[in-house]
């Protein structure tokens, strides 16, 4: 029953989306208020219908209704409740339902928060959202229906891949999708602006919060995925330049660029064409990511199924959306006149540099990701493009980006003086040199890149702090007045500082963990002690244990530093029953200065066990840095200037009063 209901509301959502996609466009063209108004109501209905569909599928999972094919293939009655629920999106069909549901959620949010949008713009934005929804709903209904029945219903389900039974991964897809799909709003705004032929600072102000939200979610989604890979896969790595990772990283790069170029549109009414193009590219990359992951052209845990019909459908959809929007862009963009002029050395100039570097980086990642697919398609030759390529192309672009990041906020709009920015950054330079020197002195053997990385970390961290301190005139004005300035400083300014510090922390984590990781691989007998990094690891022995839906070999280790207090660590090698599968559960002791990471493997037949032990300095800062960026993004989002409910007239007034240097 629940499946039929789900099926029904899905079709209802499709019909609504078709209306939402067509009628308001006509309405906006003819200035028919009733038709334009329809967009809002349709987006409510669509959201309600898809919420219903999502609930239906969730009920199917929670009640273990194995007459639904999707539930039978991916769930099991003995699975813990959390994983029954996360199992809803832990498979192809369900994750696409999540995709369209989030799409509808964003449409609903635009309708809800966009009360101050001009009627025609709002109608058009919602119509484009509706059209994207039509495409995805057709895909869901015709190639990936989650409500398909299975007759006869099996006694129990197949179970969920145990690697996916994990809290980190339970929330990875929703966050990632909030990011991917959030970019659809920016895209819809861009297309609507192209149809209207008008882009102004107000437009940028409406677009920015959506970009910011999408970016923040994308950041946290990627971080969760990488964290999961780190602790669940048991190889100690956190980023493999795997095509699936690249698929989420490319939209992130584009969204980061978009976030910054939208500032220029808002403040200086220029770079409009470029910003529109970026909005199109960013969403295209997230569609491409969906295509790469969902079509089965890639081989990995994410490719739940490889059904050629699905691949062809998404590819057609991709061609239609990207091709269509680029054609529209080519026709309409030249008509949009650029606004204020600026010198190469200026805030705008720095943001252009940011955009150039980020989009070039995205392009090189795209090339490396797609090349094997094209080569296979055209010559049948199988290759893979490995991490060396990505490291060799991405890092040289990232270094100037980080250098410029500390500079940018010091440069005034229009025209700037590099010398005065440098003189204000002299402490950052000192800090970078000191850290660089210290690193050089401390490190006995390590890559030269480690020096650069540590220097960059100090440069960006101190540079961001100086900029923030400058704004509130810390130590230059009486403390009270600094405090007042800090409180009244726009939240978006605090947000920027925090997000930039987050990047600095990520740089620290990557550099230190890559350069100074220690690793030991070997057979250990009970009672044996080895030293890795600055820690002694004593192997106490291993035993068989029985878990809720698995059996495991559990090792026991005591890690201690120079005979100090010991930490108990229990790595496991699990064998799940449904589906029968082995997983490695690393024992990880995260600390601010280093992570200890222990993996246990098979017995060697003589009482010893294969073990792998890592000491990874500062690695937690990679994820803490991402969390900091996420927080900065949200703080910025809460800025009252961007708060969407404020009446339009007032926004214009506030804008007039603003100090020109605020971002």
């Amino acid at each position: 029953m629940v499946a039929e209901l789900g099926q029904f509301v899905l079709v209802l959502a499709l019909v609504t989306a078709i209306c939402q996609g067509i009628l308001p466009l006509i309405g906006a063209h003819k200035q028919n208020a009733a038709l334009m108004k329809l967009a809002e109501n349709a987006s409510f209905v669509q959201f309600a219908a898809l919420t219903g569909a999502f609930i239906c599928l969730t009920v199917g999972y929670v009640t273990s209704d194995f007459s639904i094919l999707n539930v039978a293939s991916n769930s099991h009655s003995l699975k813990p409740l959390l994983y029954k629920i996360s199992g809803v999106w832990g498979n192809h069909e369900g994750s696409l339902l999540l995709w369209v549901w989030i799409l509808a959620l964003f449409g609903f949010a635009v309708a809800l928060f966009g009360r101050n949008l001009p009627d025609s713009l709002k109608a058009r934005v919602l119509a484009i959202q509706g059209l994207i929804g039509v495409g995805f709903l057709l895909f869901v209904l015709f190639t990936s229906n989650p409500f398909e029945r299975l007759v006869p219903a099996p006694f129990d389900g197949n179970g969920l891949n145990p690697l996916l039974q994990d809290p980190g991964l339970a929330f990875h897809p929703p966050f990632l999708y909030l990011g991917y799909v959030g970019l659809s709003v920016t895209f819809s705004f861009a297309i609507a602006a192209l149809i209207e032929g008008k882009v102004d600072p107000a437009w940028a102000r409406w677009v920015r919060p959506w970009t910011l939200a999408a970016w923040a979610f994308l950041t946290i989604g990627i971080a969760l995925g990488s964290w999961w890979a780190y602790y669940e896969l048991g190889w100690g790595g956190w980023w493999f330049w795997d095509p699936v990772e690249n698929a989420s990283f490319m939209p992130w790069l584009a969204a980061t660029a978009l976030l910054h170029s939208a500032i220029v549109v808002e403040k200086r009414d220029t770079l409009k064409n470029w910003t529109i193009l970026l909005a199109i590219i960013a969403f295209s990359l997230s569609l491409l990511g969906t295509f790469l992951v969902r079509s089965g052209v890639l081989n990995s845990v994410h490719a739940f199924a490889s059904d050629p019909a699905r691949g062809v459908f998404i590819l057609m959809f991709l061609v239609f959306v990207i091709g269509g929007s680029l054609v529209l862009y080519a026709v309409r963009a030249p008509a949009m006149k650029g606004g204020g002029l600026f010198a190469p050395i200026s805030r705008e100039g720095a943001l252009v540099l940011n955009n150039l570097l980020l989009s070039t980086a995205a392009a090189t990642v795209l090339l490396g990701t797609l090349y094997p697919i094209f080569l296979d398609a055209f010559t049948g030759e199988k290759v893979s493009v490995g991490p060396p390529y990505f490291n060799a192309t991405f890092l040289p672009l990232a270094v100037p980006l980080v250098i410029a990041m500390a500079f940018g906020p010091f440069l005034p709009w229009k025209r700037a003086d590099l010398g005065s920015a440098l003189s204000r950054l002299k402490f950052a330079m000192f800090a970078a040199l000191i850290v660089l020197g210290l690193t050089w002195w401390l490190q006995t053997d390590g890559p030269i890149l480690a020096l650069v990385g540590m220097g960059l970390f100090a440069w960006l961290l101190v540079g961001s702090l100086i900029e923030w301190a400058d704004r509130i005139r810390l130590f230059r004005a009486p403390f009270n007045s600094s405090w007042r300035r800090m409180v009244t400083l726009p939240r978006s300014a605090h947000g920027m500082t925090i997000a930039h510090i987050g990047v600095a922390l990520v740089v620290l984590g990557i550099t230190a963990s890559e350069a100074w990781q220690s690793e030991r691989l070997g057979i250990m007998k009970p009672g044996e002690t080895v030293t890795v990094g600055s820690y002694d690891f004593k192997f106490n022995g291993a035993e068989q244990i029985v878990g809720p839906n698995y059996n495991a070999l559990r090792g026991s280790f005591t890690a201690s530093k120079h005979g100090g207090a010991g930490y108990q660590m229990f790595p496991e090698q699990r064998v799940y029953t449904d589906p029968p599968m082995m997983t490695t559960e690393a024992a990880i002791r995260p600390m601010l200065t280093a992570d200890l990471y222990v993996v246990i493997g098979d017995e060697d037949g003589a009482g010893g066990y294969a073990t792998r032990i890592y000491h990874k300095p500062f690695i937690s800062w990679i994820w803490l840095g991402c969390l900091t960026m996420f927080f900065g993004g949200f703080l910025s989002l809460s800025d009252r200037r961007l708060r969407l409910g404020a009446p339009k007239k007032r926004q214009v007034e506030i804008k007039g009063k603003e100090a020109p240097t605020h971002i």
């Binding site: 650029g338 252009v352 150039l356 070039t360 199988k382 060799a392 691989l521 493997g601």
Partner: protein, 146 residues
């Protein structure tokens, strides 16, 4: 600062970043392309020792020998097979008769020294490259590997 001049700066900046990127791509691309070969490919067209590539196929039944953390096994496409040695912990799904992809180099004795055995996270899963090479060697059994 005129509009024309501004556009010129844009073009110059854009071009120079692109040129740098193109140079980076071109210099690193050749070295980081890793080709995939099946045991039959190797028998047909040997790869010189010391060149990194991926070798994929099935882990030959009864070929796995573990000595401490060093594992020796043979990768086969049921027509030809290649001896492989690997030092490290094998991925969870490594099993005799299962599909496997390894990355490494041949040594002077014709043994493939794997630096990496790629983990596949699903027991029904067959790496597409391996499926293709099995089809080529005529030993593909689709029902067995859905």
């Amino acid at each position: 600062m005129t509009r024309k001049k501004q556009r010129l700066y844009f073009v110059i900046a854009g071009m120079s970043v692109l040129a740098v990127a193109a140079a980076l791509v071109l210099t690193s691309f050749e070295d980081s392309l890793v080709f995939f070969h099946s045991p039959s490919d190797l028998a047909e067209k040997p790869v010189p020792a010391g060149r990194t590539f991926r070798l994929g196929g099935l882990v030959e039944e009864g070929s796995v020998v573990k000595q401490g953390v060093i594992v020796q096994f043979r990768v086969t496409d049921l027509a030809e097979s290649v001896p492989v040695t690997f030092e490290g912990l094998l991925p969870d799904l490594f099993r005799e008769g299962q599909g496997v992809v390894t990355e490494g180099q041949l040594n002077e004795d014709g043994i493939f020294v794997a630096s990496n055995v790629l983990a596949k996270h699903d027991e029904n899963y067959m790496p597409p490259e391996v499926a293709d090479s099995l089809k080529k060697s005529g030993h593909w059994q689709p029902e067995g590997n859905k």
